[in-house]
């Protein structure tokens, strides 16, 4: 069992934007009923929204030893179908208004506008005894690659977050990130551990209803990816009157140093905390954080390892970096390092493949005081609005579809698509937008004479940087 809800009985566990409250006692009861309806350990799919029903099902599954695959409820129908067919879950926990998508399944229970659907697969894949839940590494593309997290991972990481953010029952975090996204989920996991009240809403920062709910319900914290902070900056957030706000956290990619500074200064001047953090789904959620009192002094840094974790750097020769300001691959050690990946149903029986050590793929340095700075990535991927997008995969997909010379590159939130033939420019861009399901604003196409390559025919991506830096 992850959470002992009986400790907080009458405290509200959740409030939604319509003013509906669910106490911890009610959450305990409702989540246990969902688990009882499933009836035992088996694989389920949880189609997430930032709504009460979604959290009721999720907590029932985790406390009831029923591993859920956490997916966005807005995932495209065909992608969802493919995942259901390849993993063959016994049940789906789905918003009642999406039931019609699954006419062949039987509703066996309903609560808080969510329904439990029985799938009728004859076969089920064996589950490793430590397997707690499965999460995607990128939010929207429907990739069948999941991260396998254990119950111990979730509990350890949530406790560590509680400790370094000093969370207690008086907190009221408001949802700003999808629940199926590891960072959004970690906020729910950690706050339910201390008896806090989660303000759940599907509304976003650009909507009036979000801010009305924020003010009326007295939100104390929110989390954001770098793009969230760009939007807040744009909204001239600094002028808003938010007396109840205590803490803003940031993760999901490196924030621009100018914005880091602006929000650190805003926090310092207004008696609030701005906490830059670092993490990956492969380490459950969090690995590093920059203590709020260092936010202004260590601009551009993602901080130090979270309580219970350890960082070190490994250079190109496989040696540990011991000097400050030298680049190496960031390696993390801690109990929140997950077991590994699953790419098909058979992988669900696999055990721990990492032994508590994660090579993050991020290149980093530490300064004289031991604070870490991310300086690059080992693998070619971008974070677009907080979603990881693999550039080599984009290249492969486009070349496979159009059979033309192509290369993708860019910086976070701005992907550049390089083609040599003008007539493919629009269709290549449309294709990449459709595949990633991200806002078109992030994609620019550029026609160039030729894709720079070395003698062996390998694309020289560095030479493309001149087009966008």
């Amino acid at each position: 069992m992850i959470w002992d809800f009986s400790r907080f009985a009458d405290t509200p566990a959740m409030i939604d934007e319509n003013g509906r409250q669910v106490s911890y006692a009610e959450l305990k009861q409702a989540s246990e009923v969902v688990a009882q309806c499933v009836g035992g350990r088996c694989l389920v799919f949880c189609l997430c929204r930032n709504e009460i029903g979604s959290v009721v099902g999720y907590t029932g599954f985790l406390n009831g030893s029923i591993p859920p695959v956490m997916l966005n409820s807005h995932l495209e129908e065909e992608l969802l179908r493919n995942l259901v067919d390849s993993y063959q879950p016994a049940y789906l926990w789905c918003p009642a208004d999406q039931m019609a998508q699954f006419p062949e399944m039987t509703a066996v229970h309903e609560a808080y506008e969510y329904v439990l659907l029985k799938t009728n697969f004859e076969h089920s894949y064996p589950l490793h005894e430590d397997l707690g839940l499965l999460l995607t590494t990128s939010g929207s593309t429907g990739s069948p690659k999941f991260v396998r997290q254990t119950y111990a991972n979730v509990l350890d990481n949530a406790r560590s977050i509680v400790q370094y953010l000093e969370l207690d029952a008086t907190e009221r975090p408001i949802t700003t990130l999808p629940m199926n996204y590891t960072y959004g989920l970690s906020i729910i996991n950690s706050h339910l551990l201390v008896g806090a009240t989660i303000l759940v809403t599907e509304k976003g920062l650009m909507q009036k209803e979000f801010w009305s709910f924020f003010k009326e319900s007295g939100a104390t914290s929110f989390g954001g990816v770098p793009y969230t902070y760009e939007m807040l900056d744009r909204l001239r957030f600094y002028r808003m009157k938010l007396p109840t706000l205590r803490t803003m956290t940031q993760a999901g990619g490196k924030i621009l140093p100018e914005l880091h500074e602006k929000f650190a200064n805003y926090a310092a001047e207004n008696g609030k905390k701005f906490v830059v953090m670092y993490g990956q789904c492969e380490a459950t959620a969090r690995m590093g954080y920059l203590p709020a009192d260092m936010a202004a002094a260590k601009k551009g840094s993602m901080g130090i390892a979270i309580p219970g974790g350890k960082f070190h750097l490994i250079d190109a020769n496989g040696q540990e970096v011991t000097e400050p300001n030298v680049t190496g691959e960031l390696v993390y050690e801690g109990k929140n390092v997950t077991m590994g990946y699953a790419e098909c149903g058979d992988d669900l029986a696999k055990g721990d493949e990492r032994n508590g050590i994660l090579e993050t793929g991020d290149m980093a340095q530490f300064d004289e005081d031991g604070y870490y700075y991310i300086v690059g990535r080992k693998k070619r991927f971008l974070k677009i609005y907080g979603n990881r997008v693999n550039l080599d995969e984009v290249d492969r997909l486009v070349q496979g579809k159009f059979h033309v010379d192509f290369a993708s590159s860019g910086v976070d939130d701005h992907m550049y698509l390089f083609v040599t033939d003008e007539q493919y420019a629009a269709s290549v861009r449309d294709f990449v937008i459709a595949k990633t399901k991200l806002n078109p604003a992030a994609f620019k196409v550029q026609v160039i004479d030729e894709i720079p390559k070395n003698d062996a025919g390998k694309t020289l991506y560095k030479e493309l940087t001149k087009y966008y830096v």
């Binding site: 939007m231 744009r234 604003a441």
Partner: protein, 80 residues
């Protein structure tokens, strides 16, 4: 260009849609009008009309029609 043409063009460019989709269009009706798209639209409108929009107006801008009302306010004086 008339104000209406400029206004429409900001939507068309930001969301990559056609003019016949504009009437009745609301936030989140189409995938391109999400929070990222909203920010792009506001920038495009601010550039087109050389204005700076207030926070309350940015978050109140929930539809094609609502936007016209907001821009017509005395603060901006853009009659569409």
């Amino acid at each position: 260009m008339t104000n209406l043409e400029k206004y429409n063009q900001a939507f068309i460019d930001s969301f990559e849609i056609t003019e016949d989709q504009l009437a009745g269009l609301k936030y989140q009706d189409i995938p391109a009008w999400d929070s990222a798209g909203h920010m792009g639209l506001i920038s495009a409108l601010e550039d087109a009309f050389d204005i700076m929009m207030d926070t309350d107006d940015i978050i109140d801008f929930s539809s094609y029609e609502k936007g016209k009302e907001i821009l017509a306010k005395d603060d901006y004086g853009v009659a569409i």
